[in-house]
């Protein structure tokens, strides 16, 4: 303790600029002061180095072997070392995970999960639903212009639809069970009782853990099938400029997938992949830690300072890895749920004829011409070529 105090005094003298910002803790002998406690209670960041590093130093004290089992380390110093993860804890079983006896990051995770995550996530989903209701009331169902032709073209083959529904069906189950896991305590337990909540959670956990694999398989299938059709190109610029037909009265030309669908595709692929990876990491606790390594990369490329996050911790307790994986998993899942709700809207009540594409796979030519004119031309040209009639006129945009 005296050594540390002396060090503190030396540093204070050597660095006058720093001295102005270092609080005077001489009245408490270097321990935290009322100002520190008040600052912490007001959620002001406090530099806790003076506590973190104040964990005793048996080696520098003479006659330590004669002292008790803790050597020259006092109880507060010993507990500080446990609290800040610097204690030399050795265990006979359980590995590195079991060496963490106090994990204060768990409180941050708990508070975030019970607070902002539920709050912002819940509002995001409700807000999305509300926006879609308003959009529907203002715009109504987007109709097929003119009469249906009665002639259909195959929009999605059976295997494409299978892959879509494998992914979609599993995502809905995962979304519902994920929401039960997060909101069960506040939305089910107070109304249906803790027993009912526990039953939902137990069932939900089984479904979530096992259906996850179907989601991953579906994700791989749709990626392989559709990635070629979802590469950005110039037609996307026209589609975006007209906001897919919302601006103006024309329907912008599009290939198999328009720019809006490409956004959904890449959201599903990228967010879905990240959700899958963190999900697998959570399914095999402590086996696949990835956040410390990711933070190191983010620090190295300067992204964290660019985003104003400062230097991210590159040393994380195993439990903290799991907590961050859970939060990232849930945040991305909320964003993806909001996107998918909008996708379900436009594919069902929002647009006439859209469901047929994923239902029977056959869409009316009038619908195809309206929403995917370039794709329809390509399909018709292919058909004409295969029927030995290459000179037939293709429909105009």
């Amino acid at each position: 303790m005296r050594v540390l105090l002396w060090l503190l005094v030396c540093l204070t003298m050597a660095l006058p600029a720093t001295a102005q910002t270092t609080p005077d803790r001489s009245a408490t002998g270097g321990a935290q002061t009322l100002a520190d406690i008040m600052a912490r209670q007001n959620s002001v960041a406090v530099d806790d180095t003076f506590r973190r590093e104040n964990v005793g130093d048996s080696a520098s004290l003479p006659g330590v072997p004669q002292l008790g089992t803790q050597g020259g380390v006092s109880d507060p110093e010993f507990w500080r070392a446990l609290r800040y993860g610097s204690a030399d804890v050795r265990v006979s079983a359980g590995g590195e995970v079991a060496t963490v006896l106090v994990q204060d990051g768990g409180m941050r995770w708990l508070a975030y999960r019970a607070g902002p995550l539920r709050q912002y996530g819940g509002w995001l989903l409700l807000g999305t639903l509300a926006l879609l209701v308003v959009f529907y009331l203002l715009r109504g169902k987007i109709p097929i212009d003119g009469e249906k032709t009665g002639r259909t073209v195959t929009r999605f083959r059976a295997f494409e639809r299978f892959g879509h529904w494998l992914l979609g069906g599993s995502f809905i189950l995962l979304g519902i069970t994920g929401l039960i896991t997060l909101f069960g305590r506040v939305a089910i337990a107070p109304y249906l009782g803790k027993e009912a909540n526990a039953t939902f959670l137990e069932l939900g956990k089984w479904v979530h853990n096992n259906v996850a694999w179907a989601f991953i398989v579906g994700l791989v299938i749709i990626f392989v099938m559709w990635v070629v059709h979802n590469l950005p190109d110039r037609t996307d610029l026209v589609w975006i400029a007209q906001a897919g037909g919302i601006v103006g009265s024309k329907h912008p030309p599009a290939k198999k997938f328009n720019a809006g669908q490409k956004v959904i595709f890449w959201s599903v692929v990228l967010f879905g992949a990240s959700i899958s990876i963190t999900g697998v990491s959570l399914l095999f606790p402590y086996e696949l830690p990835m956040f410390a390594k990711t933070f190191a990369v983010v620090n190295d490329i300067g992204l964290s300072s660019l985003l104003g996050l400062g230097e991210l911790s590159e040393t994380l307790a195993p439990q903290e890895e799991m907590q961050l994986a859970q939060l990232w998993h849930a945040i991305l899942a909320f964003v993806l749920m909001a996107i998918v709700i909008a996708h379900i809207y436009i594919g069902s009540v929002g647009m006439e004829g859209a469901y047929d594409a994923m239902g029977s796979g056959e869409v009316d030519e009038a619908w195809a011409k309206q929403h995917h004119s370039i794709w329809l031309e390509e399909i018709q040209q292919e058909q004409d070529t295969s029927q030995g009639n290459p000179t037939k006129q293709s429909p105009a945009d």
Binding site: R161, S170, N209, N210
Partner: protein
Amino acid sequence: MKAMLTGFAAVAVIALGANLLLNQAGFASHEKLSGASVRLDVVK
């Protein structure tokens, strides 16, 4: 419609299969974090 129902059936089949496999993978909490000297009421 048939493709949709097949997709949903595949979700169920994959989930049941995953459950069978994962139960034998040795990653259950009691297998990872417990030992022979600990008595647990584990439903097998």
